[in-house]
Symmetry: C2
Subunit: 320 residues, 2 copies
Amino acid sequence: MALTLSDVAAAAERLRDIAHRTPVHTSRTLDALAGCQIFLKCENFQRVGAFKFRGAYNAISQLSPEQKAAGVVTHSSGNHAQGVALAAQLLGVPATIVMPDDAPAVKREATAGYGARIVSAPAAQREKVSAQLARDEGLTLVHPYDDDRIIAGQGTAAWELFEQVEGLELLFVPVGGGGLISGSALAAAARQPGCRVVGVEPAIADDANRSWRSGTVQVLDQPPPTIADGLRTRFIGERNLAVMRQYVYDMTTVSEEEIVAALRFVWQRLKIIIEPSRAVALAPLLSGRYPAPGRRVGVILSGGNVDPFNLPEEITGANA
Amino acid sequence: MALTLSDVAAAAERLRDIAHRTPVHTSRTLDALAGCQIFLKCENFQRVGAFKFRGAYNAISQLSPEQKAAGVVTHSSGNHAQGVALAAQLLGVPATIVMPDDAPAVKREATAGYGARIVSAPAAQREKVSAQLARDEGLTLVHPYDDDRIIAGQGTAAWELFEQVEGLELLFVPVGGGGLISGSALAAAARQPGCRVVGVEPAIADDANRSWRSGTVQVLDQPPPTIADGLRTRFIGERNLAVMRQYVYDMTTVSEEEIVAALRFVWQRLKIIIEPSRAVALAPLLSGRYPAPGRRVGVILSGGNVDPFNLPEEITGANA
C-alpha cells in the first residue's frame, strides 16, 4: 500500500496552526460508570465542527499548482462538504460541492458560507454528477474517505491524542467510510504501537465489521436507517480496508439504544454537544458491551454538527 | 473588609487537584462576530457542572473540626446545593440541603446522589428552615454568596483563567447574588490589575447594577422572571457589594432576547452546553451592546446544569 507510517506525522506537521489542537476531556462520573479511565478527544470542537477538516486540508494542500488553480470537487451533504469548502478557501482553491437536492438549507448555507459553489443533484446521482464535473471542468475529486491523503489527515486527531495523553492502551473510533479508523490505526502503529485500535459501528450498519472480518469490501443495499446519520455509508474504501486489516485490533457494533444512551450521557453529564454518529465510539464502553477494566482508553468524539434545538424524537423522547 | 487580595490565591491552592482546571475555549467565528479576541473559561465542565463547587469546597474545608463533625446546611435548588453536597462528601462532612418542595426530582436526586440529606420546605420558607436547622442541630450555614470564603473560592475560576491566558484586558462575569463577580474582581485585582471586570445581569433583574451604582443593596420585590434562572436572586450580599464597589470596573445589562441569542450561539456553534444564566456574560459582546474592539476579553461560562432535552420554548422556538 502507498500509505506509510510517516504519512500521519507529515500530515500533522502540515496541519500545525491550521487545524485546532482540540482538547481532551475526562469525567470521573464516566470513568466510574465504565470502569476504566477514558480520554475523550473532542473533535466536535474542530474547525467546521468535525475531524473532516483535517483530511480535506491535508489532501488539498498537496495538490499541484495546476490542480489547485483548476479547483476541487466532492459530493457530500455533511461534514466533509464543509471541511473541503473551508480547506479550499484557506488555500485559495475553487471548490465545488455536489449536494443532494433535499439537503437541509442550513447545511447548504454553511458550505456556501465558506465560499464553495454548490451544485444540487438527486441523492442517487451525486457520485455521477461529481465525476462528470471533474471530467468536464478538470476538477480534482476529493473523495470523502478512499484517499491516502484523506486517511493520513484524519489520523492526525489520534496522533494529537497520543501526544496529549500518555500510555493509552485502547482507542475506540467510529466507523463510516473508514477514513478516520484507518488514519487512527496508522497513527497508533506509528506512535503508540501498544495501543489497540477498535472500530465501532451501529449494528444495523455493520458492513465495515463484515468487511474487516472477511477481507473483502461488503456493500449494504441501502443506506442503513441508523440514528448515527454520519455513518450511513454503504461501504468502506479498498484503501481503508487494507489499512484496517493490517492495523485495526478489533471491530465491534452497538445497538441504536446504546447509541442514544451514550449521546444523552455526553450531552447531559459532559455538557458537550456531539452528533449521534459520534456517540457511537463511546457506546460500547458505557453500555458494558466491550469492557476494558482499569485500562487507559481513548475515544474520538468526532463531530458536533447537529442542531441542538431540532433533535429527532428518538433522542429527546427516550427519557423525557 | 475582611477579604484580602491573597485570599483567592490561598483558595486556588486549596482547590488544586480537587477542582477541575477547566479548559479555555476560543472560536474564530465568535471573534469575527464580536470584533475582539474572546477566551471562554468553561466552568460548565467543572465538577457538579458549575463554578459553585469551588466556593463550597473552599468554605467547608476551612471549618473547624467541631464544625465539620456537626455538619453544614444550605438552601438552594441549584448548583450551590450540588456544590455543597459534593464538597461535604469529599471532606467527610454531613450536609443538609433545604430545597423548595417543588424542586425538580432530577435536582433532588443529583444532590442526594452526593450523599446529602434533603429537607423539603415551601420556597418562601427556605431561609427560615435552614436557619432553624442550623440552630437546632448546631449546623454551620454555608451561604450561597454572602460569605468571604465562598467569594474567594468562586474567584479561583478567574484566577485560573489569568494563569491560562496572558494579557486579558476585560473580563465579563454574570451576576446573580454577587459571589462570582466579587471573587473574580478580587482575582483580577490581585493577579491582573490592568484587567477591567464587567458584571452582566439580565435587564429585568438589574438589582446588582442599581446596587453597585447607588452604593446600597437594592432588593427586588419578586424573583425576576428571566430565562436566566440561575440569576433570579432578589438581592446581592453586603460583602459582595463592598468588593464590587471597590474592584468592579463596570456593570451592564442584557435583554432576554440577547441572552437567548447568545445561548443558541454557544450551543450551535461552540458545541458547548451551558445554562441560560451562563450565556448572560457573553451576550453584551455578541450583541454589540458592549463592544470591545480588538481587545483580549475573558468570559466566564459558569455552569451547564440544564436538561438539553427539555428546554423551554423561548430557547428552542426562537429559530425552529
